[in-house]
């Protein structure tokens, strides 16, 4: 599973670090450090993190199953930045 966090959007709410601590961790007060690649057994947790992010900063593919590009949070907004 590949993932990327738009750190311009990220505001350090740490929901992802709470829901998928093996993938996302906080480094200091509000810096997010994450692994851009997650094992399949993390899928459910990553999916929860994607859904829970208050600013929809996480994009991940393969959330529906191996090899399938999945819809991701935060895309499609006309003013997405």
């Amino acid at each position: 599973m590949r993932l990327v966090v738009d750190l311009n959007r990220c505001q350090g709410y740490a929901q992802c670090a709470f829901l998928a601590p093996d993938v996302f961790t906080m480094h200091g007060e509000e810096s997010l450090v994450y692994s851009p690649w997650a094992d399949d057994e993390q899928r459910e947790k990553v999916a929860r993190a994607v859904a829970a992010c208050p600013v929809q900063a996480i994009t991940a593919d393969g959330l529906d199953g191996p090899g399938e590009p999945a819809a991701a949070a935060g895309q499609g907004a006309p003013d997405a930045r």
């Binding site: 599973m1 590949r2 993932l3 990327v4 738009d6 750190l7 311009n8 990220c10 505001q11 350090g12 961790t25 480094h27 200091g28 007060e29 509000e30 810096s31 997010l32 450090v33 994450y34 692994s35 851009p36 690649w37 994009t59 991940a60 593919d61 393969g62 590009p69 991701a72 895309q75 997405a80 930045r81």
Partner: protein, 464 residues
């Protein structure tokens, strides 16, 4: 063919070529498909890898939280492209609409997107740059090599240049208790991007975390052992630092050499384009079939007096790619301008540093929230009586507010009361940027062209 019919044909069976298979190239390709482009799509990249993300290479990877060869970018959708990876583009024939490749092949296009980005500026003394143990950090291969050496436990790491990359590397080394020396030509880290007031805070961060920070010095030479391994760095103040690992962080060079002689307005500062991402030719005439996006583009921005900006920002690569892709397949009346407000982040020594706007244009700075001594603050930059940028140290949630202030040209000095403003923050002070004609580690924003408001030009030769 009338314009309307042409665009219909283009969307149905046109040929689009994207040169540069990184973040901007990938997001452009996805946007093209999302907007209904059904023709052929060719992705050309000089690296042998599918598009991957670079910011983690100097952060998560060096901290051991991510594998250097596993930062592939997730896909928003299937792009059904022909991939020509590991093959650099070597030339462009504008008249014949063809891209030449290193393997001798030529790829014809109806629309071309150039997103070739930048590369790390190497150590200028070639023989010393070849020494074993001397690195740059830009690509995945660089990260794999550097990561391996850091894991082997070097006695000391020597970083040349205290810009964002250099500071992040120093931070990652200290996190793992590796001794590190940082040499910077300016008087503080991050000065080129954020100025001396904020740079002084960055210097404290280095000191507090045990970095041996040397400012106001230049590296005069790297010394190798008889078997060709680096063993020491010589500084302009006469000091010598013994080291077995050197990371050169001197900023980036734009990948435009392959366009030499093509007739495009391309040079060391990037490829000039209009607000709709259409490239200019060298006569200043806009092309209709060549588009530019990402780090390699230079485009005029209305919020910044229409100066040409080239931005090495992750978010800009995404936003500009989306605009370019939309405009490539749209009739002129449907085209949209690229007016993204510059923004970037860095994470070092456990502090989240973020900025919006163009700090390096600022003349003055006010600390409108928090305080410098706590290293938790918002600094607002002013230019000619208005807010032009803001930077936050561990205060990111306020940045959106300041982004609106920049967009609406709010007055500076800031008069409205803010949360958590201290007495020291009531006065504006000089932002203390160094003379831009003196290169330091290379800022991530390059102001080029001139401001029409100035109405005069002073020619300063570039030492690029």
């Amino acid at each position: 063919m009338p314009a309307e019919q042409f665009h219909e044909w283009l969307r149905r069976e046109g040929r689009i070529v994207v040169v540069g298979a990184s973040l901007a190239g990938l997001r452009a390709a996805e946007t093209l498909r999302a907007e209904g482009f059904r023709g052929s799509l060719t992705m050309i990249g000089d690296e042998p890898y599918q598009p991957y993300d670079r910011p983690p290479l100097s952060k998560a990877v060096l901290l051991g939280k991510a594998a250097p060869d596993r930062t592939d970018l997730p896909r928003r959708r299937d792009i059904d492209a022909v991939w020509r990876l590991g093959t650099a583009a070597t030339g462009l024939d504008l008249a014949a609409q063809r891209v030449r490749l290193a393997d001798g092949d030529e790829v014809p296009y109806d629309r071309l997107l150039i997103a070739t980005g930048v590369r790390a500026r190497p150590w200028p003394k070639e023989e010393e740059a070849q020494l074993d143990g001397v690195f740059v950090l830009r690509t995945r291969d660089d990260a794999v090599r550097l990561h391996r050496r850091l894991k082997a436990g070097p006695r000391r790491v020597f970083v040349i240049g205290a810009g964002f990359t250099g500071s992040e590397i120093a931070s990652a080394c200290r996190d793992q208790d590796i001794p590190v020396t940082v040499a910077e030509r300016a008087d503080a880290p991050l000065v080129g991007a954020l100025g001396g007031v904020v740079g002084a805070v960055a210097a404290e961060l280095h000191h507090d975390h045990g970095v041996d920070l040397r400012t106001g010095v230049m590296v005069t030479g790297l010394e190798g052992s008889p078997v060709g391994r680096v063993r020491a760095a010589h500084l302009s103040d006469g000091s010598v630092v013994e080291t077995d690992l050197v990371v050169v962080c001197l900023g980036a060079t734009r990948n435009t050499e392959w366009l030499t002689g093509s007739g495009l307005g391309a040079g060391p500062r990037g490829i000039a384009c209009d607000a709709g991402c259409r490239a200019f030719d060298f006569r200043g005439i806009v092309t209709d079939d060549v588009y530019v996006a990402g780090d390699v583009a230079r485009s005029p921005h209305p919020l910044f007096s229409y100066q040409f900006l080239s931005l090495e920002h992750w978010g800009n690569a995404v936003a500009q790619a989306e605009v370019a892709a939309h405009n490539m397949i749209s009739a002129s009346s449907d085209r949209i301008p690229h007016m993204w407000v510059p923004a970037f982040w860095s994470s070092q020594f456990g502090v989240n540093i973020k900025s919006v706007g163009v700090p390096s244009m600022g003349e003055q700075i006010m600390i409108t929230q928090g305080s410098l001594t706590e290293r938790r603050f918002v600094g607002v930059y002013g230019y000619q009586g208005r807010v032009i940028a803001a930077v936050s140290f561990d205060n990111t949630r306020w940045l959106e507010f300041y982004e609106r202030q920049i967009e609406t040209g709010a007055p500076f000095p800031v008069e409205y009361p803010t949360m958590d403003r201290r007495p020291e923050g009531r006065k504006a002070m000089p932002a203390d940027f160094p003379d831009p004609s003196l290169p330091t580690h290379g800022p991530t924003v390059t102001l080029s062209g001139y401001s029409p408001a100035d109405r005069r030009l002073v020619f300063t030769p570039s030492r690029h």
